[in-house]
Subunit: 275 residues, 2 copies
Amino acid sequence: MVLVNGVDTVHLSVQDRGLHYGDGVFETLAVRDGEPLCWARHMDRLRAGCQRLSMPCPDPNQLLGEARQVSQELAHAVLKLMVTRGVGGRGYRPPETASPTRVVVSYPWPDYPRASPLQGVHVRVCNTRLGRNPSLAGIKHLNRLEQVLARAEWTDPDIAEGLMLDTEDRVIEGTMSNVFMVRERCLLTPGLGSAGIPGIMRALIMETARSMGLEVTEASLSLADLGSADELFLCNSIFGVWPIRRLSGKPYAIGPLSLRMRQRLVAMGVISGPA
Amino acid sequence: MVLVNGVDTVHLSVQDRGLHYGDGVFETLAVRDGEPLCWARHMDRLRAGCQRLSMPCPDPNQLLGEARQVSQELAHAVLKLMVTRGVGGRGYRPPETASPTRVVVSYPWPDYPRASPLQGVHVRVCNTRLGRNPSLAGIKHLNRLEQVLARAEWTDPDIAEGLMLDTEDRVIEGTMSNVFMVRERCLLTPGLGSAGIPGIMRALIMETARSMGLEVTEASLSLADLGSADELFLCNSIFGVWPIRRLSGKPYAIGPLSLRMRQRLVAMGVISGPA
């Protein structure tokens, strides 16, 4: 089901700035029993993104009503919210008073292998790089061609995700996930000041790890750094935590910390999906 | 008037990948007496962009028919063509057989000051930078948030354009134009291998300058380099050539080469707009 500005429709104005320029932001959430998970955190990021684009942010309560409307009676689903700067005339200049477009869509739960959270996944390194631009880094905006090109690099269903480096060979994130490495009981994850999106699950993991007494560091990480990891794992709001069993052919142990972290997040009720 | 896949409508599917990811390309052309200018060159760039995105390109003849349909009886107009990868499911991965969406729109001619081509324009330097990414550089794709943020930096109607630097302080282009400098009878313009879009007017100017016996070089240019110019000018397919009279407060001479170049392009019939 799709709601556009609260109306049940499959259409959008062809003059929407979301189409012309990717002038907007989005959120992807897990839905369990008709209710979106981690709603407040997603709304915080949506609001921050709108602010950085100097765009009005819709009322979170209105969005929540729409989210529930498209999610009702769904046991497990994926919810996507898009907020664009709305309809505009020709040219990059934003209208002085933008009237944002809200798009709220529910999708069936993806058919990820049930075993991935426990048995881990195979991951490759993408050739497509992430450009570095502090003006856009951290915003979950609609300019996603880098991810599209990276995801188009492989069709092998045994490869679950691709890691992306920036143009200076730093590991940043997966095409649809963030990445963590464990080394000597420290948790390390790439800093995202120049590229990448700070995931909601990433933040939850960092907080949880600290509450478990682990040291958590955002760092500049190379592929060689990842090679020295005791454990590697991916995370996002839909699949939760996936240990990396193999990266570019090199095997990694599915270590205790990845599994324990996932158990904690399941216990906190922030990971959805069929059991 | 708007045609979407040949149909007179103002709507697009809310599942179009152009909206979700900016997964597509566009062209902006001048129309004179119902006919788009430099059609073949724009089609070459469109085709090259589709190829780099591994996306089928619509038949140029079909697009020309649609372009003429939305432009008919218009003495002067702006034509925008968008080609997206079409409707897709959730996720970055492109569908194996994409069915592109064609959007063809005509707009009224913009109300640029009549005097700009002869008396020059004021230009600022934008704070928003262009990220560097060879995977996307040169493609006139729909990921245009950098330009939106740059164009939002000023509202002063006396400033006609903003120059954008990349993240390594190199001058790349204007938000909607390319830039040239003249120094000792040489024409210099930024190389666009890491960021920027090679404009159709830019290519015409480079070819014309060479045919006039001038040396033309693509170079890595800083703002300091621009400061040493005898003349500076901007170009695009709509306004043609605008000499820069003032850049960040520093005055420049409106030199003979900028004016002569414009006369040549007018004589070639590649610049439109009310006289």
